[in-house]
Amino acid sequence: MKMNGARILLECLKREGVDTIFGYPGGTVINLYDELFSFKEIRHILPRHEQAGVHAADGYARATGKVGVAIATSGPGATNTITGIATAYMDSIPMVIITGQVPTALIGNDAFQEADIIGITRPCTKHNFLVKDVKDLATIMKKAFYIARTGRPGPVVVDLPKDVQVAQTEFKYPETVEIRGYKPTVEGHPKQIEKAVAMIMQAKKPVLYVGGGVILGNASAELVALAKRLAIPVTTTLMGLGSFPENDPLSLGLLGMHGTYYANMAVSNCDMLIAIGARFDDRVTGKIASFAPHAKIVHVDVDPTSIKKNVRVDLPIVGDVRDVLTKMLKIADEIGPDAEGCRQAVATWSAEIDEWKEKHPMSYKQTTSTIKPQYVIQRLRALSDPDAIVATDVGQHQMWTAQFFGFTAPRTLLSSGGLGTMGFGLPAAMGAQAGFPERQVMVICGDGGFQMNMQELATIVQNRLNVKIVILNNNFLGMVRQWQELFFDKRYSSTCMELPIDFIKLAEAFGATGLQATKVDEVDDVIKKGFSIKGPVLMEFKVAREEKVLPMVPAGASLTEMVLAS
């Protein structure tokens, strides 16, 4: 059947199983929006800013595991998506972003609302496409989704000139896709896997260091099984939180700059580090030279470039983490009795770790009146649904959430780890809620990050996305303030948010409910009330202004040089 390019695009989305998209209309996508007007199979959500639209598609993708889709017009619409795309790129989130472009004949002419978005997004996408001929559109869309979701996932931009949306052609969606230069390695090398298991069996002090790859690769169950089978303690990165239940005795929680004392001590003293779907980021390793100094390192990752990028590796395995973990587990099972031996061998190691846990557990000083932010996080966990989804913004509240919430299931924490994008939380929560209308979704943010995308209150209310917004308000850009306190002699340059905002009135102005707690004994009431109200609720907690995120490894120091909570 003959169709125009705009219709073909929508048909492609439908065939890829897309049910929700986030987009903002404009001159070069007006034809696409005209088709969308009568295309009822896809729910379109209109954000109030293109950046938020991309973050929402990102939050949707992180929560559901599906490919997130966002649309923006050419020029400023497209450039507004950049932060969202870069955020998704750093965290390997599968997304397809469709941008309008000026008609092909005008490209390069500095036309109205023209931007070279292919050039601009080249370094922050997994790949991008400019569609020059409507006949290529279906194949390009097939490739875009395939590239976005396979291998190490990532965002793909499809730039669609206005005349291509209007041009007509026969529509046929390709069944398969063939890209000569793109063949991601799925299956780990069997010999390498065997060797890895043998090495792990010999270790006396093993640690599993787990990143976002385990969540992206849907390999949590396999990870949990392997860790338990061999009694190996597990520490996760920020992106890996939720892949291993933090209420399990084997859990060491977060490692790195704001990791637990015991996770950092375990990594610094282990004789075998098994990295799964993690990339040895500087926030994780601290000073590279003294990272896991006594350990042999096994590194499993789907992306070969992640291996040996920052840290020497004794045994690399390129492959899908679920495939590799499944095979490791099978070998461990076959070895059987020896695996028991391995468990025995690590008994003294567990005792050592337990001592560290006892010596410096995660803690903060509770007060009787002022609300401590960590307390709010703990109460949110206690009073929310077990399968609640938590989005965070970036900063102190993000680290407190990572330290104190206690994640037990994958895809329940949505956080900008790699790029550290302030303003991410609220739209990401909005996207997750669109994916799971019945589940409890909250965003925990600071007063700074919330203000970066607070216009999305309108989208949330308009679309009945019942996001619960938690603001830990310290009237500071807290993380920068903390660095200024510790390393810049308390010179709080531009980190005090001097204007006190009435967040309750703000919520009400958008048609949401606003609640506030200023004292410790009000915290539970506000949370309970907030969760019981149907509809979007903003809960503001006035928290201790100069509370610090601890432990902290100063930038560039070794993991053992932690500043601990007194």
Partner: protein
């Protein structure tokens, strides 16, 4: 360490900028770069010379392989490859130096492709070492202009591309 890397890519717009952007974005160096279509018109071949320790070269080849439009990357080892570059060089040539320029050209089997009363322009091909040696001999005579293709490289015998 200097490395000559051959990259087989889809012959499409924007591919070269992906390759070059990878180098600039990650702080890798490019000493020289050549690109042209191959016997398969759908493909282009890039030959680039870069430098770095083993770890950097490994990252470069991995990152190149990661690009969707890159089909194959070969980091050629000198003993398995033949490397050639071409230079065009304009040398000042007056009075007694005219004969000296021609002598050097003869030794290096360079061709004279342009003559004026004040200069010779030579064309020379060979390994980068040979061409470099010729340039160094011509330099004291007065180099007016130098243009080089940068090296291209091909595997010996069965080494190199399969199919």
């Amino acid at each position: 360490m200097k490395h000559t890397i051959a990259v087989l890519v889809e012959n499409e717009f924007g591919v070269l900028s992906r390759v070059v952007g990878l180098f600039s974005g990650r702080g890798f160096n490019i000493d020289s770069l050549t690109v042209a279509p191959t016997n398969d018109e759908a493909l282009s071949r890039i030959t680039l010379v870069t430098r770095g320790d083993e770890q950097i070269i490994e990252q470069i080849t991995k990152q190149l392989n990661k690009l969707i439009d890159v089909i194959k990357v070969i980091d050629f080892e000198a003993e398995n490859a033949i490397e050639r570059e071409m230079v065009l060089v304009k040398v000042a040539a007056e009075d007694q130096s005219r004969a000296e320029v021609l002598r050097i050209a003869d030794i290096f089997r360079a061709k004279v492709i342009d003559v004026t009363p004040k200069s010779y322009t030579l064309e020379a091909t060979g390994t980068p070492a040979k061409v470099g040696a010729m340039i160094e001999l011509l330099r004291p005579l007065g180099l007016k202009e130098l243009v080089s293709t940068g090296p291209v490289v091909i595997g010996r015998g069965a080494k190199g591309w399969k199919g």
